[in-house]
Amino acid sequence: MTTDVETERAVTAWYRSPRVLDVVGLLARLFLGGVLLWAGLAKVGKPLTSERAVQAYEIMPLGLAGWVGLALPFVEIVLGVLLVLGLFTRPVAVVSTLLMVAFVVGIAQAWARGLTIDCGCFGGGGQIGENETKYPQEIARDASFAAAGVWLWWRPRSLAALDRVLFRD
């Protein structure tokens, strides 16, 4: 017969078990990694659109923004692949989280300054109509990606990660 205290302990143990936390880690990796891969692949081969998308934020000089636009898809793909593989999960999660925070800041400043742009998160981007903007949704979405990154930053251990195979940790 179990006492109340023991039952409670068993319940707590359920979601605190390393196994469950590892699965959460795996899901976070696949979610953030998948999103980054998708976002990157959607922009490959569309140099003009990628350049304009970054330039539309009006944060950087046009030339620099153009280069950022050209490089960003490949940066996203590299981060996405590493996350899906689970290689160097913590450093990659840190970089990915900071990237998402940068996106949120970029969108928020565009909103605050009254620019009317599409975030260009998954291709597209640039100037759009005043009532076509989706700033709150875009920020919420990027924040959810950042949340997955923060989880992996805090607890990079996860199931089926190359980190465990290679480094036994």
Partner: protein
């Protein structure tokens, strides 16, 4: 690394096991793998950017041809042989043959604008852009623009332009060759002229010119999308315009 240190501090036995297994705790050397991953990542990003640029250069081609009266980056003057009335404003029309909104714009205002230009009341310049090819991934704007300027070689730009909007094909889908040829035929290009025109389009004779006009429009002239109409450099709002008279007024056309 931090984890290894923690383990060593907490459990002496664990530390002994790890020490026995040698450096790296039995796994791969973390620093070597990290260095390899960083190098591969940097190479991948740089190679991606270089590949994108090479690809773009290849698409733009080497032809430096520009239509009569225009330099690289400049709009094409329609009805260039018309004598302008005094004080006629320069009207710049920025459009992309693939853009459905441009099709609607042309259906509503195309005729009246051409009338104004034909009467010398405005100096009409078309800036034919091709950004939608990049956005949609379809092969439409660039071949259509080439079609327009190859027709201009034969003095048929305006007719081709009008035919291309009247019979506009679907956005986001590669422009069928027959459709493109059909516009040329509607513009009165036939026989040997049609062969010349086809070769001119196939060579992408004006791709570099159109790409330069596109870049100038977005980077220097503050164009955000198409269609955009400017009169003497000022963007014109056509939303309240319903009659040719209204149009002449908002464009500042001379009477």
């Amino acid at each position: 690394m931090a984890k290894t240190t923690k383990k060593t501090a907490s459990g002496g036995r664990q530390a002994k096991i790890q020490a026995a297994a040698g450096s790296g705790g039995g796994g791969a050397n973390r620093i070597v793998v990290a260095a390899a991953v960083v190098v591969v990542a940097i190479v991948a990003v740089v190679a991606g950017v270089v590949w994108t640029q090479v690809q773009r250069e290849a698409e733009v081609g080497t032809s430096t041809a520009t239509p009569a009266g225009a330099q690289m980056g400049e709009g094409y003057r329609a009805f260039a042989d018309v004598e302008l009335r005094e004080g006629a404003p320069v009207v710049d029309v920025f459009e992309d043959f693939q853009c459905p909104a441009c099709g609607q714009f042309e259906a509503a205002f195309g005729g009246p604008i051409e009338d104004l230009a034909r009467d010398g009341r405005i100096e009409l310049r078309y800036h034919i852009l091709n950004f939608l090819d990049d956005t949609t991934g379809a092969d439409y704007s660039t071949p259509a623009a080439n079609g327009g300027f190859c027709a201009a070689d034969q003095g048929a730009f305006q007719d081709f332009h009008d035919a291309a909007y009247a019979g506009q094909a679907r956005e986001g889908v590669d422009l069928p060759q027959e459709t493109l040829d059909g516009w040329a035929q509607e513009a009165g290009i036939t026989g040997d002229d049609l062969d010349t025109w086809e070769q001119c389009v196939a060579d992408g004779t004006y791709t570099r010119y159109v790409t330069s006009v596109n870049a100038t429009a977005f980077e220097e002239e503050g164009v955000r999308g198409t269609p955009t109409v400017k009169s003497d450099g000022e963007e014109v709002d056509l939303s309240g315009v319903s009659t040719p008279e209204d149009l002449a007024e908002v464009l500042g056309a001379t009477s």
